[in-house]
Amino acid sequence: MSVTPELPIIPKLKANAILNLLARGQRIDKRRLDEYREITIKTGYVPNAEGSAYVKLGNTQVLAGVKLEVGQPYADAPNEGVLIVNAEFIPAASPSFEPGPPDENAIELARIIDRSLREPRVIETNKLAIIPGKKVWIIWLDIYVLDHDGNLIDACMLASMTALMSTRIPAIDVNKETGEVTIKREETQGLLPISRLVTTVSVYKIGNYLVVDPNQEEEALSSARLSITVTEEGLIAGLQKAGLDHLTETEIEKAIELALNNAPKLITAIREAAKDIRAKEGINSEGG
């Protein structure tokens, strides 16, 4: 069952300070309302993963990794690879996270990222069949939140997209008689085929103001959130409203505008971070 969460307690003085500043178009850390914190992306962070990325967004830290396995395709898509996304909010990341299976927030986050990648066909899964109808690549994208200082969805999306951009497909041996596939992880047959880049921009409503990339205090004070997935071409490829409050049509309109304005910067950051790995494989970072 989904239960109304206990709202985090923020000292009144702090809350008032945040709201008074927003009224003047300012943030407690001197940012504008439509401004992201500093973004650091480290590609290829975990050597044993086929692809990985560490993202630091302000003081939020997340790690996304990709492992590839050989498995069976879905019956309704026999010639396509399979993407499986999971997210875990590890207890190390926040006093409010507890050990155990992913809660509704982690599941929601993973499903937002899954849809954001699946719907605009970011990964060219049609190129990931090994033996059509029988053996395909299974892409396990796992995301771990290491330190929670707000805006987990955008941080996790940046990490996921960069990890996929830097994923190398291992070499394989196919036994022609048995159809058995052996993975040779020490060799690579090239990069995971990516058709286009996407990012999310999550817009938070605090009082009557809309901000992007809140830190944890601002996020705790927010009453609603709209996460907007934007492709590199400026298309909207996903939406998810969350939070106890509503949004008006005007607020949604403004949130979309904020997303379309901020997405190019985030997509550039992903492209830059994945540039070296993609150049090494002889593919430019423009995608595909």
Binding site: T4, R115, E119, K241, H246, E249
Partner: protein, 243 residues
């Protein structure tokens, strides 16, 4: 191994949809309140072949007690699909989809319920999909809002929901299962029409910003019509007959 299913034509030469509807037409909608004896409030809502039952218990004492909040009632919401509501049997174990939708539906109803009137209690909302044919979450929101009203729980406004979509390039209202499966986008929306407040918004698919604007407008028009039906059904049940 099954071959990849061919995408059917979703809009015919006359501009009509797979079930003969115009792009801005709702499926036949049917609503009934007070369908369960034990629940404090209940409703059965049908959008075509999508049938959803909602039951509300509360405000009531919470078990365990520590789950309550000192300044407001806690909403607890469970969305689930009966095992035989789908083509392939749905395992009764809660799926990740059901966990997400329980949250999304709870957050669609939170802005409407005056929870501050009932501190230290819970209001439980159970949504059971009896037959799934597209738009189950939005039919669930519509049913849950009726059940809350039927339970006599004070609300700022009713909440109604509908999914719009893009099929064969056309923005259409109240998409059914085939349009969801083969269409380009599925966008569930719920709102409190009397107050102009949007409480649920999701998009599964790709739209241009302009298409999104058109889709949202179409959804809000559909929601207004469903909202009028909700009010009518409640008025019909609770209106005092004067001689």
């Amino acid at each position: 191994m099954a071959a990849e299913k061919e995408k059917p034509k979703l809009i015919d030469e006359k501009g009509l949809r797979v079930d003969g509807r115009r792009p801005d037409e709702l499926r036949p909608i049917d609503m009934e309140v007070g369908v369960l004896k034990n629940a404090d409030g209940s409703a059965l809502v049908k959008y075509g072949n999508t049938w959803v039952l909602a039951a509300v218990y509360g405000p009531r004492e919470a078990v365990p007690k520590h789950m309550t909040l000192p300044d407001r009632a806690v909403l607890r919401c469970r969305y689930r699909m009966l095992s035989f509501s789908t083509h392939e049997r749905k395992s009764p174990a809660p799926s990740r989809r059901e966990i997400e939708l329980s949250k999304v539906i709870r957050e669609a109803l939170e802005p409407a319920v005056l929870t501050e009137l009932y501190p230290r209690t819970t209001i439980d909302i159970f949504i059971e999909v009896l037959n799934a044919h597209g738009g189950t979450r939005t039919a669930g929101v519509t049913a849950a809002a009726l059940a809350l009203a039927d339970a006599g729980i004070p609300m700022r406004d009713l909440v109604a929901g509908v999914a719009v979509g893009k099929v064969d390039g056309i923005i259409v209202l109240d998409i059914n299962e085939n349009e969801d499966m083969y269409g380009e986008a599925d966008m569930p929306v719920a709102a409190m029409p009397g107050l102009g407040r949007i409480t649920l918004l999701q998009l599964n698919g790709v739209l241009t910003p302009e298409e999104f604007r058109v889709a949202l407008k179409l959804a809000l028009q559909g929601i207004k019509r469903i909202y009028d039906m909700q009010k009518e059904v409640l008025r019909h049940k609770y209106a005092v007959v004067e001689e």
